[in-house]
Symmetry: D2
Subunit: 372 residues, 4 copies
Amino acid sequence: MIGGGRDAFIGAVHRMAARLDDRYELVAGALSSDPERARQSGRDLRLDPERSYGSIDALIEGERRRDDGVDVVSIVTPNHLHYAAARACLEAGFHVICDKPMTTTVTEAEALCAAAEAAGRVLAVTYNYSGYPLVRAARELVRQGELGPIHRVQVEYLQDWLLEPLERTGNKQASWRTDPARSGPAGCIGDIGTHAFQLAEFVTGLRVRRLAGAVTSVVPDRPVDDDAQVLLEFDGGARGTLWASQVATGHANGLRLRVYGRRAALEWCQEDPNRLYLRPFGEPARELVRAGPGTASPTAPIRIPPGHPEGFLEAFAQIYRDVADRIEALEHGTPPPESALLAPDGREGLRGVRFVAAVLASSAGGMRWVEL
Amino acid sequence: MIGGGRDAFIGAVHRMAARLDDRYELVAGALSSDPERARQSGRDLRLDPERSYGSIDALIEGERRRDDGVDVVSIVTPNHLHYAAARACLEAGFHVICDKPMTTTVTEAEALCAAAEAAGRVLAVTYNYSGYPLVRAARELVRQGELGPIHRVQVEYLQDWLLEPLERTGNKQASWRTDPARSGPAGCIGDIGTHAFQLAEFVTGLRVRRLAGAVTSVVPDRPVDDDAQVLLEFDGGARGTLWASQVATGHANGLRLRVYGRRAALEWCQEDPNRLYLRPFGEPARELVRAGPGTASPTAPIRIPPGHPEGFLEAFAQIYRDVADRIEALEHGTPPPESALLAPDGREGLRGVRFVAAVLASSAGGMRWVEL
Amino acid sequence: MIGGGRDAFIGAVHRMAARLDDRYELVAGALSSDPERARQSGRDLRLDPERSYGSIDALIEGERRRDDGVDVVSIVTPNHLHYAAARACLEAGFHVICDKPMTTTVTEAEALCAAAEAAGRVLAVTYNYSGYPLVRAARELVRQGELGPIHRVQVEYLQDWLLEPLERTGNKQASWRTDPARSGPAGCIGDIGTHAFQLAEFVTGLRVRRLAGAVTSVVPDRPVDDDAQVLLEFDGGARGTLWASQVATGHANGLRLRVYGRRAALEWCQEDPNRLYLRPFGEPARELVRAGPGTASPTAPIRIPPGHPEGFLEAFAQIYRDVADRIEALEHGTPPPESALLAPDGREGLRGVRFVAAVLASSAGGMRWVEL
Amino acid sequence: MIGGGRDAFIGAVHRMAARLDDRYELVAGALSSDPERARQSGRDLRLDPERSYGSIDALIEGERRRDDGVDVVSIVTPNHLHYAAARACLEAGFHVICDKPMTTTVTEAEALCAAAEAAGRVLAVTYNYSGYPLVRAARELVRQGELGPIHRVQVEYLQDWLLEPLERTGNKQASWRTDPARSGPAGCIGDIGTHAFQLAEFVTGLRVRRLAGAVTSVVPDRPVDDDAQVLLEFDGGARGTLWASQVATGHANGLRLRVYGRRAALEWCQEDPNRLYLRPFGEPARELVRAGPGTASPTAPIRIPPGHPEGFLEAFAQIYRDVADRIEALEHGTPPPESALLAPDGREGLRGVRFVAAVLASSAGGMRWVEL
């Protein structure tokens, strides 16, 4: 693992997710860019001190030399460090699991995809919300034609934790996420907008062909956006709206997707992830539940039965499990299971980076339409 | 009553609403533009045959001559007839209650306001959703500063009954609503978009200063829009989105408003009208109920206690009651009660007509920003 | 109308309900047992002073003498006065609509049924919750076998307004309802328990054959019960529980019914009356909405379309409308419409009174089983 | 681990729960009473073949001999085997985590508590629902007096998977759970009723002093109960109802608790575990969310922030984490953290077994009151 030391948030999430299905063992890390902090963090996690490295280079070098060196590296640093770390790991022959947004520029994202391909290694991006079983069931419903042709897609991802200027109070999470030097030119639209964008494309199977958006900073003097509204046009003509906000009072982590087809609509909300609403035109609405009737999907293996709620960590773990399946298939030369094909890869990572760039370009151009 | 004969929908609603609080008696009507149908409809409603008129002119002439002639005329015809009927009634000295949109052009709307003023008569427009007690409680919460400065307003009004081309099957409601000759140039944006617009301004107390919108017809060859997406900018800088659709699969009458302030947000949905959610930043969300703690408002008189649901008709009746209070105050020269001041009048009717014209202009101009 | 003067609660509800569908006109009343208050209340309602009577006897005598005397009398007094008033009205040839519980003793209830039969007049009891369209739709679903054989019925009616000893603060509603001289020996179990009992039998079509219950007073020194728990056994073997409470903190008017059959279960809650949940075994749960797919019923005429919420008053009005249909059919010698047959009559009133007596007997006997 | 081999359900749950917080490593097992199946199951889990034992005795013997022998044994067999396994492990000096119900007789349960005490070892029982953060927050609210004196407790645990006689189709879970030889004399009341009972006492801090209950088998010829209704009386006079059913059509795993106090009520439902409703008398209801305002509790450590749902596995993991803390404290002679004190121990296990016995006795005695 690269990043994820003391005070980090997402690193611990990755570790729990990796552990849940018993497919990974954390054996080495460069857990902080500060060597002393890296060492302490390694101790916290009971890493072998020899394998708790003070830098990315040291980790790569050390692990390559070992017979039992790591197979996969998870990169959970602030955004601006993703690119160099991921590239070095891929080139050193490791598979890479990278947090999103994959990089802070389109050029870097393209280069990373190329590097993965050249190395013949798996490059996965943790669009973790696509690991929810009902998100995958929703995708299946669309593919099976239950919704009919889609004409409207509404997606929103709402948080309120940046309603106050936390970055001025020393909050570590707020500080790097609102600092263009570390998060890249995008704030909210990169941090959570990319999740919403990926979710919409993932479930509908449609691609956004152009968009027009406006980003804004509701908190004065914030150097990156904290709220973004984007109009979407999809291949085939469906229209949509994406609203991402980190100043949406009263929302903790409100990622909600609504898809409207000619035959039925569906709605799913991340804060209530074990329910999926399907509303066929002219029939009563149906409440589908995880692992219940109508939601079985080979892409969402069942850990525990319906009525036993699964949550964020389980969805995150699904991505890790899928990546493990993909790596095993690659190494054994066997076809991966269907679910493994859904693990978001570098191309999806690149698409998210392109989305961010397009929104920023549109907003800067007075909300003009930009092709994607 | 003008309009509202056999097969009409909204006429019966107006009659139930007028009756509920025992402030009106229906004694005369020109219930259809077809004299024979008008007569039959009058019989259905047990009108005195002498006062069941075959035309608007006959009604005006007949009622003016009587000592016990009507005080107020309700106009519930298709949109294109509102203007002439309302104007004639006002000029004849009657108060007028007119369905929305008030007229089909801005010019007519302005003329109607002028006519009401010249006549010294009440001209009310049935933006009935602003009669819901919790909508008024929401407005009070904003006025009292509970939300702090508002930065975001999201409103949507979603139906799905026009997902099929009903207008080609002889459905009366669908036919006139999708016929520009009778509904005016706007379809969905006029029919229900105006309600959403009025609700947003009513609750927030803010005025939209400019907008950019796109209207579309999801059903091919429909001559008016059935879906509209509008970006809003309010005085003071708040931003918002209005989405109105009559092809939103799975929604019956989903009018939903969300208002985000720096201190709290609120959410109200017409299909669940006895609950109002207030979400203060950093505190647990609160569920406010009609007539319950925190929702008392002089502008929303209590008919029945909390837990006894009120609905659409009661809200509609509130508008009728408010208009009655306003007329009585006007005629007695006394100040009207506070609630009566909330009955939407011609100026709000005009504003709605302007909104429709602005959206159509923006959409025709490639979604350019249009001042309101 | 008898009772329902100033400060009364349910009288105004009856008047609005009677008015809504335009089948009744209030023309006479003995609105209070205090003649002066009766007169004032008559003025409030703009009754002809001649027909605003100071006593029940005066009303009966006065109206019998008139050619245009009333057809129907609504009795909305405290419980202990129902019997004498209803009996006198029936014997005088009026139809009677009586609030529940119909009487305070079984003997009186039986006598009243006999009196109605002897007079050939309609005796209706306002179990108003059975007027909700979705309650009737639920009943239809059971009759059509959608639930399969029923094995469990859970009903609860929860309020919290008596959590404080309001009767000691002069609250009029609390005072008479907790005074055995006026409410009869039962408190909560009579006031709201009877509604829950009737709802359970109405929807399931099953009859309770025996019960075991315990009533209690959570507020010390209250002379009647404010909370009651009753176990039910139905014909055919289904079991159930009824919980009625007026000290259930946080509930305003929470009447909720759940019926479990071998094929499906249903759930309906009065505070959210436009939705009915049907949960077929092994299939996704369905949300049925008023006037929507799957809920059409000849017993629940549609006033307004789905998505336009109806509430407590509309359901109450349905009972009034049904009674009007029943009276018309009786007077014209024609068969009443199917919906009219659902208006609760004296036999259902009697059954409710028997239920109360059985619960009190069981509770007094240490919760022994009592046949009904 | 004892039990939990191929086809078992709860064994895998225990393993995921143990793994999540990285406090346990599974190194040995007697995973099935069939040696061959035990061996295969051990291979599935990549156990060292030497430590994959064919019997409990072999496991105990083998692990005692090793320097790196296990510290803790999880017992996840069918109920009738808990006692002997747990006793042997405790006497051999291992700490024990035992599934519920702890034993099938009161005598055994008492003996097990004594054995744990004699051995000075931790005996924990996986009443896993008490590991939910909001269950612990609810308990805190009660302790802090937010609810005032409690007068009513309603708890229900509803499933429907036994609505069909699955035990006759070879379903392994159904077979042992409805076989008195393996599940003990109780069916549903032991399998899930004990969870409901523990939850009610855990949150309220009150002890049931007597109860009266009726168990029944809705499915004909089923040898154990599948539905149970129990009236409860608590120390201090609060009353309550517990309803447990495995034939409650439409419910997957509906464990719901409602507690009513003089100042406020609370409601929590396992199928929506990240929300807790607090309803203060005379104030708006509040929705408390996991890790959000008003729910911080030293007894529920925060893994991930509000809005990131946690579920069944996380709650189960909390019990495992608490037990780890308790064992560490015991072994280091330090005081355990507050949360660790909440891990249910043998006394709670015993109490559950007594509860089952009391319900069966009451039911057999015609629903007489039985002291607990």
